[in-house]
């Protein structure tokens, strides 16, 4: 009995350093806002651990005492017990709850504190199983990779196209759901440039676990440059000068891709899948499941179901020449 209890406590204690040693997790915030949440988290963990241990002790003590003089409870003792119940059962919990609530409100306020009116706004729209990313100020559309300026609060507006998803980038903020028919908002801020990985945190179907997101925080100049580049349409091609790229574009426009994907600057304006206008600039493919390199890209186009079973993108059959040209074309969309 004692052994088992000790085991549980030891396991619990072990879990804490294990969790906190994971780099890049919730316990290693990289954002002034997430910093406050983590303070709250530690205070709550500390307080509840102390109370838990205290209560266990009290219970043991009560059990032993009850068995020793069960039938001999006298009037005076009952009075003392009444104080214990009033103090320990009402006063103490009320105090603890009030303190924790004040802290929670403080942390909650700092998370939702409005960003300035000139703050960047990013619209994130959940799809099974990828993230559409829009910057309403500039009209640019991309997917699965959010760029933000570091050291500035950024408004994130969250919507869903189908079912409930949840946006969670642990190093930057807590999670918030994306709910169909509703717009939720969140403010994130990265304290320094870097890359932060996130994950859908609300079960949304077969490829829920394959719905990852990447936040790239960069200094203001690089960010502005990124916005400008991403806003450009794909370059116009003509068959005489860029025969191979033109072939590739024809392969895209001539097969099913065009029904689902947009490449701005071409006739392709499908919206069932991610915008591919600057696909070559993204680090990873398929909602950050595979690196964006030629082999992965080819394999994904020919057999997406092997990479992400259940994904909404069907396999496409292409001839060797079409595939090579299509790969060259997509790789040119920087």
């Amino acid at each position: 009995m004692r052994g088992a209890r000790l085991g549980v406590v030891a396991l619990g204690l072990l879990a804490v350093p294990l969790l906190s040693s994971c780099t890049g997790g919730m316990l290693d915030p990289q954002s002034p806002r997430a910093d406050k949440v983590i303070v709250l988290w530690w205070v709550m963990l500390g307080t509840s651990s102390v109370i838990f241990v205290f209560l266990c002790g009290l219970l043991l003590w009560g059990l032993r005492r009850a068995s020793r003089n069960s039938a001999r409870a006298r009037e005076g003792q009952l009075n003392r017990d009444r104080y214990l119940v009033l103090g320990g059962g009402i006063a103490l919990p009320v105090t603890v709850m009030v303190v924790l609530m004040v802290l929670t409100v403080w942390a909650g306020r700092s998370i939702t504190e409005a960003a300035g009116s000139d703050a960047v706004t990013v619209e994130v729209i959940g799809h099974q199983w990828w993230w559409e990313v829009r910057y309403p100020d500039t009209g640019l559309v991309t997917a699965n990779e959010i760029h933000i300026p570091s050291g500035e609060p950024v408004n994130i507006l969250l919507k869903s196209e189908d079912v409930i998803h949840s946006f969670w980038v642990p190093e930057l903020s807590g999670k918030i759901d994306l709910i169909p028919g509703r717009t939720n908002s969140l403010i994130i801020e990265a304290s320094h440039p870097g890359e932060f990985r996130g994950q859908c945190a609300e079960f949304c179907g077969l490829q829920h676990a394959g719905m990852r997101i990447l936040v790239v925080a960069e200094d203001r100049d690089s960010f502005d440059q990124w916005v400008q580049e991403q806003g450009e349409p794909a370059p116009a091609l003509n068959p005489a000068d860029d025969a191979q790229l033109w072939e590739g574009q024809q392969a895209f426009l001539g097969s099913a891709c065009v029904y689902c994907h947009t490449i701005r600057g071409t006739n392709g304006s499908g919206t069932l899948g991610p915008d591919l206008t600057h696909i070559a600039s993204r680090q990873r493919l398929a909602s950050n499941m595979i690196p964006n390199t030629r082999g992965h890209l080819a394999g994904w186009i020919l057999d997406p179901q092997a990479v992400k079973p259940g994904t909404q993108m069907p396999p496409t059959q292409l001839s060797a020449d079409q595939l090579d040209a299509l790969l060259d074309y997509l790789e040119s969309l920087k």
Binding site: P291, G295, A298, L302, A320
Partner: protein, 127 residues
């Protein structure tokens, strides 16, 4: 109990001896030059993403089914059912598959000779 353990140990030892004997008489068609580095090749395979089309042993996530599995490729006699699997042919295949088998869906990666040699060295080690 000890009897059984002893028997297992003997069996294991026997197996090890046969395995060694087998690999001694191994005469794969691929003679890898010392300059080609299989470890570098493995990393290249990982970063190109060959594994999204091929199943390749010991490469993370390499369980693709678009093309043939490359398991045991060091023992395979032909490349793409077209040319003998010797060193020069393998390097040539990796540098430009369509030059060898027009119409094959395996993409051209624009590999230089050194890169192709490193990749080939890893493929040759798959036995």
């Amino acid at each position: 109990m000890t009897g059984r353990r002893f028997a297992i140990a003997v069996l294991g030892a026997l197996l090890a001896v046969t395995a060694v004997a087998c690999s001694e008489e191994d005469h794969g068609p691929l003679n890898v030059p010392a300059s080609a580095d299989a470890d570098v090749g493995k990393q290249l395979i990982q970063s190109y993403g060959c594994g999204t089309c091929h199943t390749i042993p010991d490469v993370a996530g390499a369980d693709g089914r678009v093309g043939p599995s490359l398991e045991d490729f060091g023992h395979q006699m032909y490349i793409a059912g077209a040319i003998p699997n010797d060193w020069d042919n393998l390097v040539a295949w990796l540098m430009d598959p369509q030059a060898i088998e027009p119409g094959t869906i395996m993409p051209n990666f624009g590999m230089g000779e050194t890169t192709a040699a490193n990749v080939a060295a890893y493929l040759a080690s798959l036995k």
